[in-house]
């Protein structure tokens, strides 16, 4: 036992690692800089449900119906009419240049057909090069136009009859009724930021010693693989705690993300997740010979984590094989946990499967790291 683990030796390792971390300005800057940068980028700049998109209205004349439709569309918040009353060719040119995202065309006989009770047509052309940017706006169109017209047409009886004949589509946006992207993104960012910084920094743990030539000395002294591993990864819990605080405060203060669940449950989840991450990073470190290799392996894990975890794209919407891959990533499970706890107020029993999955990652990575650790310079 004495040979495998001693508190005195672990204390010595920890003291050394903390001092080195403190003196390494780059690492220190990365610890705080990366979370802030990602928060600002994803939180403020990137919006997958954008509003106030520029739109053009192509119409021959402007009657009360046209005004009603324009007003109703603008009221959704998605449309902002920058060009009104232009010709169809002008509309095409604006859309092609990207000056507007939508061209709404109201045909010349629109007024007459509404008055006659015909089916009036309304053409909306959307710039769908980025489908996610336009989907929100397009989805509101049908009901908006209907309601605008009903409003204009007047009598309540008529409206009621018409409503009854319609198929009513009810969209319920639960947990995030306004569809605020940040509610989903900011908790997700907690996972992404931890994943990125924790894995990257711990993946350098051993390669840095190797490249500086200090590994030879470290291995010649009686530190056991377990002590070296713990000494290398434990200091990052402090880093994780700082990052967690920054992100949670930003979520609350900058983005007004609601926090309905238990803070303790979230903290436990973060603790286990960070443990899995630092051990993953350390495993990478035992596999790499140079910091460059460690960096490449880190990104090898980072990219699928971003793409397949449900951070970028809805998890359920991915093909099954991609979901299977996603299940093999700690971030996937952590995102489920953090969203469930923060936004839905999930309790322990709700998140038990995700906690169990995260603990499994901890065990797997710890075993991998300890078995892959080279006790010699070979």
């Amino acid at each position: 036992m004495n040979a495998v683990f001693s508190l005195t030796r672990l204390r010595a390792m920890l003291a050394k690692e903390f001092i080195q971390m403190r003196r390494d300005r780059v690492t220190f800057a990365m610890m705080l800089g990366v979370p802030l940068m990602l928060l600002v980028l994803f939180g403020f700049a990137i919006n997958t449900n954008p509003k106030h998109l520029p739109a053009a209205l192509v119409t021959a004349h402007q009657g009360p119906y046209e005004r009603a439709i324009v007003a109703a569309l603008e009221a959704t918040g998605y449309y902002h009419f920058t060009h009104v009353g232009i010709s169809a060719t002008e509309g095409d040119a604006l859309l092609a240049r990207g000056d507007v995202s939508f061209v709404v065309t109201i045909p010349a006989d629109f007024d007459r057909r509404v008055d006659r009770g015909d089916h009036p047509t309304l053409l909306i052309e959307a710039d769908a090069t980025d489908p996610s940017a336009s989907s929100g706006a397009v989805s509101t169109l049908g009901t908006v136009a209907q309601e605008a017209l009903q409003h204009e047409e007047g009598t309540e009886a008529q409206a009621a009859a018409q409503k009854a004949s319609q198929v009513e589509v009810v969209t319920h946006l639960r947990y995030n009724p306004e569809g605020v992207t940040q509610y989903n993104i900011v908790p997700g960012l907690l996972g992404v930021i931890l994943q990125m910084t924790m894995v990257m920094m711990t993946s350098m743990a051993l390669t840095r010693e190797t490249e500086r030539g200090t590994m030879e000395n470290l291995l010649a002294m009686p530190a056991s693989p377990l002590e070296i591993m713990l000494g290398k990864v434990l200091p990052f819990f402090a880093v994780g705690a700082v990052q967690l605080t920054v992100i949670l405060v930003a979520a609350k203060v900058l983005f007004q993300v609601p926090f309905v669940g238990s803070l303790w449950l979230l903290l436990s989840g973060v603790l286990i997740f960070v443990m899995a991450l630092v051990l993953l990073g350390y495993t990478i470190s035992t596999l790499s010979r140079t910091q460059m290799q460690a960096m490449q392996l880190t990104f090898f894990f980072f990219l699928p984590s971003i793409l397949l975890s449900g951070f970028m794209f809805p998890f359920q919407g991915m093909p099954l094989w991609a979901q299977d891959l996603g299940e093999a990533l700690p971030l996937t499970h952590f995102l489920r946990l953090v969203r469930a706890v923060m936004l839905k107020g999930a309790g322990f029993t709700d998140v038990r499967p995700t906690l169990a999955a995260l603990i499994a990652f901890v065990v797997i990575f710890a075993v991998l790291a300890l078995t892959r650790f080279r006790r010699t310079l070979d």
Partner: protein, 310 residues
Amino acid sequence: MTEPAIDVRGLVKRYGDKTVVDDVTITVEKGEIAGFLGPNGSGKTTTIRIMCGLLKPDAGTGRVLGMDLARDALKIKREVGYMTQRFSFYEDLSIAENLDFVAGLYRIAPRRKVVDRTLEELGLASRRNQLAGRLSGGWKQRLALAACTMHQPRLLLLDEPTAGVDPKARREFWDEIHRLAGQGITVLVSTHYMDEAERCHRINYISYGKLIAKGTVAEVVAGAGLTTFLVNGDHGGQMLRVAQDLRAAPGVDQVAPFGTTLHVVGRDGAALEASVRKIAEGAGVRWAPAETSLEDTFIQLMGASRDNMA
């Protein structure tokens, strides 16, 4: 008789198809200062790393301090102090922090006091908070030696500890090694400086991975069976011509100029003497028999081992 401090047999280490350490057997008795000599790239560092468990040999067995190399690597580490060829303490830690780290890993108690005393003995107490990376080469060497002896090892493995250190610091370093040996510590020290061999009790000479000579300095010199003559003239230009003639003469293996004196060395004493007499007297310069030096011996041995390689 007690067991030797180092007893390794038939060590082999290969990198790719290159045999870097080739069937090396070394024995070092307790309390001895053993020199490990050989030119750069001859396999000294590799052999020492095998001895302290940092490399696994491809063949061979060994006992260090009575413990088996393959089985007791961890126990050996606790009893051995290894000073690496390149400074490999933490340059971003201060002198005191480095010592504190080492003391912690060896579980030295009371840690603070031992570290303070070590700093005091080193004469670095006033610079304890200076970063180790800022120390000069000589001071780094002294810090490294202090750090690897703090846990009072029974065996010290020093890999070229005096490389790149000025003569005064070198002398002090050797005084320190002798002081440690006086306390009963066994020391194996590698070097490629010939003059340092004279400061060892016994030497082992390695060349191209092969151990080619061992024993006391006198034994090694005698074992090579060489004869040496000094040929001495007054003019450099003249000696240059004499050296040329000697190199081409039968029985002459080495001709090395030292100022206007030539060291002429050969294995066949009679043939060498005949050649030296003929050429020296022909040119009208002085000649006399002399002691063979360790350097002459090593150069001869190296030439021989290279011939074996080819």
